[in-house]
């Protein structure tokens, strides 16, 4: 079987006939070209659309600085998992529609000339779920950041652990946290950016534990799915429950940052979070 490498071509190129998108928040019809210019944020109500990993990298990094690492990691089917479709079929379908190898891409790049290790997740690939490949990439990104002594940035967009890999997916929480803790012990900073959605096992591991936690406005961020929580407990949910602003008001997010400001905010934070570099640059 030929190996499919991740492609960074915009997904929309494959369907050029689609010109308009309806904003799910304010129902405004938006011209796709204009939406792209506004970084996939609705110009009329500020709704933040989900981004592909390639769009996210393009928006955050200095042009042409991204060097992908470990692109050849491919998921296995350790359990022989079949629900209504076999897991390998779901993987193949996700690869076909996204052009990605799995739900995360990592590599080295620069933000306003400051080197970083960066991992971005892609919700389009099986809900951004974390299986062995995503866990391995997060661990390698943390180890890579440690070896190069550059800050780590992770942009999360995930429904949580990938059920089709069973406890193997659950163990990725421990794998990623082990690597993140080593990074912390070595005093290399880690910025977690949470986008819509960041839930379940991804929120309950690296996404919640940045040295600085940022979140895009109104992103769904929570541990238990809202349906699971309400169903189990039978309780009224408070307004704005599990949204960025809810986490902000309870002290788990440092800053809620609109997409248009994200690159600038990250660059500003990096100047504090990597003081040794700043000294070298100014001195």
């Amino acid at each position: 079987m030929p190996v499919k490498f991740p492609s960074f071509r915009s997904r929309r190129d494959a369907f050029p006939e689609k010109l308009w998108t309806r904003c799910p928040s304010c129902s405004e019809q938006l011209f796709n070209k204009a939406l792209e210019k506004s970084l996939h944020v609705c110009p009329s109500c500020g709704h933040h659309f989900r981004l592909t990993s390639s769009d996210r990298l393009e928006q955050l990094l200095d042009p042409g600085t991204f060097e992908e690492r470990d692109a050849g990691l491919l998921s296995q089917d350790p359990l022989g998992f079949i629900d209504q479709k076999p897991y390998p079929d779901r993987l193949a379908a996700a690869k076909l529609t996204t052009g990605l190898a799995d739900a995360a891409v990592w590599g080295f790049g620069e933000i306003e000339d400051q080197p970083v290790a960066i991992l971005v997740m892609d919700f389009g690939f099986m809900g951004g779920s974390m299986g062995a490949v995503v866990g391995e990439k997060v661990a390698r990104a943390a180890e890579g950041a440690l070896a190069a002594r550059v800050p780590l940035i992770i942009v999360s967009a995930s429904g949580g652990a990938r059920m089709q890999e069973g406890t193997m997916a659950l163990m990725q929480l421990a794998k990623t946290m082990a690597a993140i803790e080593r990074l912390r012990a070595a005093r290399v900073p880690f910025i977690s950016v949470m986008s819509d959605p960041t839930t379940g096992g991804v929120f309950a591991s690296y996404a919640a534990t940045g040295d600085v936690n940022l979140a895009e406005p109104n992103a769904l961020i929570g541990f238990a799915g809202a349906r699971v929580g309400a169903g189990t407990i039978g309780q009224e949910l408070p307004p704005g429950f599990q949204r960025s602003e809810f986490l902000f008001s309870h002290g788990f997010v440092d800053r809620v940052v609109a997409r248009a400001d994200l690159r600038r905010e990250l660059a500003g934070l990096l100047r504090y979070l990597h003081p040794s570099r700043t000294e070298a640059a100014s001195g």
């Binding site: 163990m171 929120f203 534990t209 407990i233």
Partner: protein, 343 residues
């Protein structure tokens, strides 16, 4: 790694004692797995307090996370097990309704995990090994848990346990339910009682997402390979401890006796390992879990110029022949892709 996992997976089915030797039907296997899930959830199954009553000569319980409150769903204590003085962190359900409400049906809130972290960090400082006893359907999923940062508490606890410079023996005694269980189940060695189960999500939750009905919970339980024997085959669990005939709930005394022997055996082994090596081994243990293949990535070669089709080549030859003088320029133009497929 991958081969190890895949190679061992079929053996797990052969190993599982519930499976008859002849090819069992899918329905039989589903029923067998579901019976185990029910055993793991049995209300009279021994939890931390019941097991410690058998295993420990002395128990001194510690309370509170110093931040918010004391969570009855998690018990933290110092205890003497054989010749070892250890810190024990375990989950506790109630034996009656009143106690169940106090212990929140074994579903910990953030303060439970923060209490666990406080006591485990204290154990590290005092050079005490840690034993954890895990039986949790899941962390408490309600609004107050989210407000107080259940995800952050779980993540920090998992992270802390990967780094602690003291031996950790984790035991899945009943339900190992997702992140709420893993938060206190990271260890140098992970044991499981024979009828314990371990999964990334409850079978009901998995079924309602992937099959769109929780009626398929048994099917999901089978697909997730959540029994102790299957988890042993995957490498998530290192050792399975047989339960008394009929299950752990029939004989707390005997269950505790068997578990005590296994825990003491592991503690004897682990305390002899230099701590740097121990922590590195634990890092490697979790670093290597998960199945993936790695294709060596090379810099992709520039795309080869499109090969000229047979028809093009024939036409080229014919045109060249008709002019008597070869026309290499025209042939050379083939590096441009044809505007249309013309065959």
């Amino acid at each position: 790694m991958v081969d190890r996992i895949l190679g061992r997976a079929p053996r797990s089915i052969a190993e599982a004692p519930v499976e008859p030797a002849s090819e069992p039907s899918a329905e039989d296997r589903k029923a067998a797995v579901w019976a185990r899930v029910q055993l793991a959830r049995n209300l009279r199954r021994p939890r931390t307090n019941e097991l410690l009553a058998v295993m420990a000569d002395e128990v001194i319980e510690l309370h509170g996370d110093r931040l918010f409150g004391d969570d009855g769903a998690i018990v933290a204590c110092f205890a003497r097990i054989g010749r070892h003085r250890v810190a024990v962190v375990g989950q506790q359900k109630g034996t009656d309704t009143e106690e169940n409400i106090r212990r929140n049906f074994g579903m910990p809130h953030p303060e439970g995990y923060r209490k666990a972290m406080r006591v485990m960090a204290l154990a590290e400082r005092c050079g005490l090994p840690i034993v954890t006893l895990v039986d949790v359907p899941g962390a408490h999923p309600g609004p107050e848990s989210e407000e107080r940062g259940i995800a952050e508490a779980i993540a920090r606890s998992v992270g802390l346990m990967t780094q602690l410079r003291t031996p950790i023996v984790a035991v899945i005694t009943g339900e190992g339910g997702s992140g709420g269980a893993l938060a206190i189940a990271v260890g140098d060695v992970v044991l499981a009682l024979e009828n314990a189960v371990y999964s990334v999500i409850t079978p009901e939750g998995c079924a309602s997402i992937l099959w769109r009905t929780s009626d398929e919970a048994a099917t999901a339980a089978l697909a997730m390979k959540m029994t102790a024997a299957e988890q042993r085959a995957l490498g998530v669990v290192d050792q399975v401890i047989p339960e008394p005939e009929g299950g752990a709930h029939t004989d707390h005394e005997e269950t505790g006796r068997r578990l005590k022997a296994a825990i003491i055996g592991e503690l004897d082994r682990l305390v002899a390992i230099p701590v740097d090596q121990l922590v590195e081994q634990r890092y490697r243990r979790y670093r290597s879990l998960g199945a993936y293949t790695e294709v060596v990535t090379e810099v992709p070669a520039p795309p080869a110029p499109p090969r000229s089709g047979l028809a093009d080549r024939l036409r080229g030859l014919l045109e060249a022949g008709s002019r008597a003088i070869p026309a290499p320029l025209q042939v050379g133009r083939r590096d441009e892709p044809p505007a249309r497929e013309d065959v």
